[in-house]
């Protein structure tokens, strides 16, 4: 398109102003905090960083976080696939209610999410007495952390898959069945390959939240050192003890996780878009 010189210059200025404004917002709100974490984490040199990350309590927190994630993510993934199959491929009474209920955990604040498990399994909770008699500990123990994590990461996979599978319809599945495939074969050979990028996307988000959850886990954990501290809780404890360098060293691991998450997310988005085209 041919444009006048004045117009061109005005367009250039507008674009420059827009870029400046947007980059200021992103720079101040996103890049600066990320930079602070790295600066603080390595303020004592990388040896100190390594020592803070490798000391036994930090290692314990990392292991607990990994264990909780290893339980929560697969469970919510299976749930997400089952829920998406029922909700996207079938029409039945109560479907829209169920759709709302699946999203419900996103509307509940993390602290309340922790609280409800205390009310059920805590000392004076519904099953508190029963559990105490048998010497079982849910609240202030790993099971409580897993439950709270399951709750806050509950909708991630389902909410990614439901719109995707609704949009894809069920013609390919019908074709597979008409060619003699069983239900499971249809699912594994036709449905799963078609939703793989959406599924992966949901799992990545679910994983990031599971590893990073703070509020809900904080309520049920009891902050027992070396026992019920996940990595984010460990960061909190160190920070509150004014052990800033160690706190930021551990925080930098979680920040790294966040960066890896958005990289993977971008890659998966690109792959998914390419497959859809």
């Amino acid at each position: 398109m041919k444009r006048g010189k004045g117009r061109n210059r005005k367009g250039w200025l507008a674009n420059a102003a827009l870029c400046a404004a947007a980059l200021t917002v992103i720079g101040a709100l996103v890049v600066l905090p990320l930079g602070v974490i790295l600066a603080e984490a390595f303020s004592g040199g990388w040896r100190l960083w390594a020592a803070s990350v490798a000391e036994p309590e930090a290692r314990g927190a990392i292991l607990l976080t990994l264990a909780v994630t290893a339980l929560a993510v697969p469970l919510n993934t299976v749930f997400g696939v089952a829920a998406a199959w029922a909700l996207a491929k079938f029409r039945f009474r109560g479907r829209s209610l169920l759709l709302t209920l699946v999203d419900l955990p996103f509307a509940v604040s993390p602290v309340i999410a922790g609280l409800i498990f205390v009310l059920v399994f805590g000392r004076s909770g519904w099953f508190g007495g029963w559990l105490a008699e048998r010497g079982l500990k849910v609240i202030f123990g790993t099971p409580g952390i897993v439950l709270a994590t399951l709750f806050v990461t509950f909708p991630f996979v389902a909410r990614e898959l439901i719109p995707l599978m609704s949009e894809q319809g069920s013609e390919e599945e019908q074709a597979a069945l008409s060619l003699g495939a069983s239900g499971w074969k249809t699912f594994f050979k036709v449905t799963l390959p078609n939703i793989k990028w959406g599924l992966l996307y949901g799992i990545i988000l679910c994983n990031a939240r599971a590893m990073g959850e703070f509020g809900a886990v904080s309520v049920v954990s009891g902050h027992i050192r070396g026992e019920t501290l996940t990595l984010p809780l460990h960061v909190e404890v160190l920070y509150n003890e004014y052990n800033f360098t160690a706190a930021f060293a551990c925080a930098s691991l979680l920040a790294g996780l966040a960066v890896v998450t958005i990289i993977l997310k971008t890659v998966v988005e690109l792959k998914g878009a390419r497959d859809a085209a």
């Binding site: 602070v36 089952a82 009474r93």
Partner: protein, 278 residues
């Protein structure tokens, strides 16, 4: 058979299995625990509930939480629309990178964001000192709470507005100009009405997220009762004192208020949609 009425028949298998598992798992993880909240709050009776939530400290925490969340969501509309506009219309070599960075507040564990923002804005930090010279203190004041809520809410507005803006055909704006509209008129009368629903839903998401936010706020807030103590923190404080009834009452009130807030915004959105005919 009854089943036929319940579900439109389909040849695809696995309905019973997938629905059964979905309902079972949903009940186990979400519905039963949430019902505990409702049932336990009823135990104290309406009077007990009212006694808890009408305490000045509790009321103050609600005021702080809602005011900061509202401020943050409003500012996020300005920031979010700017960034979304840049991502869709701007010309910049590293746009892809900026686009990816937008999700960082969402992917970042909240505790990490909390300590990062605190370190950035603490009175003894470079930025904190510079702001102090201007007479502004952010960390450990209500401003700090707002900043943290802006941080965590920003991606919601951007990701709501961005696709709507991308769908906006340039032809519409060209049509408006060809009919003699100035740039400002085009923006105000054509572009804004079309973006309004997505802006409002981004606002709602950011607002709702800010109301319940805990991790990124609690470090920077200072947590002074009556002044910078948010409702979520007060729930934890009550729990640590083993005041389950109090914690439950505050939680129910917070949940109810935020649902009411979201409902009100949805009503505005429905009315706006009717008004603008989309």
């Amino acid at each position: 058979m009854n089943r036929l009425k319940f579900k439109q028949n389909s040849v695809l298998p696995g309905f019973g299995l997938s629905l059964g598992f979905t309902v079972f798992y949903l009940s186990l993880i979400v519905l039963v625990p949430l019902s505990a909240l409702i049932l336990r709050s009823a135990e104290g009776g309406l009077e007990g509930f009212w006694r808890t939530v009408s305490q000045p400290r509790v009321l103050a925490s609600f005021r702080v939480t809602f005011a900061s969340a509202l401020q943050a969501a409003l500012l996020n509309v300005v920031f979010g629309v700017t960034v979304a506009w840049f991502l869709v219309r701007g010309r910049f070599p590293l746009k892809r990178l900026v686009d990816a960075l937008v999700d960082l507040p969402f992917a970042m564990p909240t505790a990490v964001s909390g300590i990062a923002l605190t370190a950035l804005l603490a009175p003894n930090s470079a930025l904190g000192l510079a702001l102090a010279r201007l007479g502004v203190q952010v960390a450990f004041t209500p401003h700090g709470i707002t900043v943290a809520m802006i941080f965590i809410g920003l991606p919601f507005v951007i990701r709501s507005v961005q696709p709507a803006l991308a769908d906006l055909s340039a032809e519409l704006e060209e049509a408006a100009s060809s009919l003699g509209a100035t740039r400002a008129q085009t923006l105000w009368r054509v572009v804004l009405p079309l973006l309004a629903p997505s802006i409002l839903s981004g606002f709602t998401l950011a607002f709702a997220r800010a109301l319940g936010e805990y991790g990124s706020v609690v470090f920077i807030a200072g947590n002074m009762p009556m002044r910078t103590e948010i409702a979520s923190l007060l729930i934890i404080t009550k729990l640590e004192q083993f005041d389950y009834t109090g914690a439950t009452a505050i939680a129910v009130a917070l949940l109810a208020l935020s649902l009411l807030g979201i409902l009100a915004i949805n009503l505005i959105q429905a009315r706006a949609a009717r008004h603008w005919g989309n």
